[in-house]
């Protein structure tokens, strides 16, 4: 383990201000996101930030100077990692942070047209050429994907794309936005934008093909006596009858309350799986009632499940 004073290149009696200065100097030089593709620099930067986490903290520095702690074990894990590991990803999954003042970012279409298109005409000098296609990824809301929506997509340079999300859009589906790519030259049309959508998980709905699944917590009395309840669906709340004696795990079907298939126009269903939930606080009345009831009403659910 290297001595943190040596790592930062400061003397043992350096002031807090000097240490901060030295660290900042090194960080400017070594920050991995400023050195894409250079793997060595990441190790150096980690050493430097580790040294600074020790010496930049007056209390820790004192303890280190007294020999109470050593230079090891100071590294805190970096959740999410460095930015460059996301920014470097190619293809349509290449991240939403783009220098996309369209045409501003050199992309493969530019290279192709420079090499093969236009008989040696440079970019932007005369000639009609269709604008470049651009691709993005965008996270979209679960409900927007399920029932469809119109959405504004904001890009890192403030550029705005209007996107129509059709009902029943699937995760990782690519939507084509005609004419929303780079501008064409001459009279040629603009390119298209391709957006790969990532459907975000929902707090309580899950989706299997065109069916929606939901786990519905119900009270003990609703389970035993039956009830008429309001249940959320992707299309809004609907009334549903719970039969008396419904158990945890019982699954009820709301026909046609799933997602409408874009091609067949058939609607999926929503499956509601019941889950009986006891009161949060132990209830004395319930306890004494059950004690009395249990004496004459033994039953063995584990035998039924084959566990005995």
């Amino acid at each position: 383990m290297k001595n943190p004073y040596d790592v930062l290149g400061v003397k043992r009696d350096a002031s807090a201000e000097d240490i901060k200065k030295a660290y900042r100097q090194l960080a400017k030089k070594l920050h991995p996101d400023l050195h894409p593709g250079n793997t060595k620099v990441e190790q150096d930067f980690k050493e430097v930030s580790q040294a600074y986490s020790l010496l930049g903290d007056a209390e820790k520095r004192k303890r280190f100077d007294r020999g109470e702690i050593d230079a090891s074990g100071q590294e805190t894990p970096r959740a999410g990692g460095f930015y460059r590991q996301y920014a470097e990803r190619g293809g349509p999954g290449g991240g939403k942070y783009r220098a996309s003042d369209f045409g501003d970012e050199i992309n493969i279409e530019d290279i192709i047209s420079d090499l093969f298109g236009g008989g040696g005409r440079g970019k932007g000098r005369g000639g009609a050429r269709k604008g470049a296609d651009v691709s993005y990824t965008a996270p979209i809301d679960f409900l927007d994907a399920a029932v469809g929506a119109k959405k504004r997509l904001r890009l890192s340079d403030g550029k705005v794309l209007d996107m129509t999300i059709p009902p029943g859009t699937a995760d990782r589906q690519t939507l084509r936005l005609k004419g929303q790519g780079g501008p064409g030259t001459g009279n040629a049309p603009a390119g298209d934008a391709y957006v790969e959508v990532h459907v975000q998980p929902h707090a309580f709905f899950t989706r299997k093909d065109n069916d929606i699944h939901l786990e519905l917590p119900i009270t003990l009395q609703e389970a035993v006596l039956g009830a008429s309840l309001e249940v959320p669906t992707v299309h809004g709340k609907v009334a549903m009858k719970i039969p008396a004696g419904s158990n945890t795990g019982a699954t009820l079907r709301l026909k046609g309350k799933g997602i409408t298939d874009r091609k067949s126009k058939q609607s999926g269903d929503q499956y509601v799986k019941l889950k009986v939930v006891l009161p949060d606080k132990p209830d004395e009345d319930l306890k004494s009632f059950i004690e009395g009831w249990a004496k004459s009403h033994g039953y063995d659910p584990r035998r039924k499940a084959g566990m005995t």
Partner: protein, 112 residues
Amino acid sequence: MPITFEQVTLEIEVGPDELQAWIERSWVLPIRQEGTYLFDDADLARARLIAELHRDLEVNEEAMPVVLRLLDQVYGLRRTLAELNRAIKALPEDARVQLQKELENQSAAAKD
């Protein structure tokens, strides 16, 4: 797994007002859902980068968009270069050899 606004402020030690301002300037683009924000790992890494640019690299508010924009361009170029590399690797052997020779000529010419 999405990360919440609050988790990001704790993870990168930045105030909620500051993080909110970054979102409003489109420096970070979390998804907006039901009155709150959801961050993915790339959003978190980018927010941390902005925090470090600001705190440690002393990039001030006026210079930040310039720095981010240049970074976005560098990464964009690198993605394009990677695509080009993949395309070249898919070429037949003799075409690659020819390309290699041509590149060597170019780099020799550039040194003169």
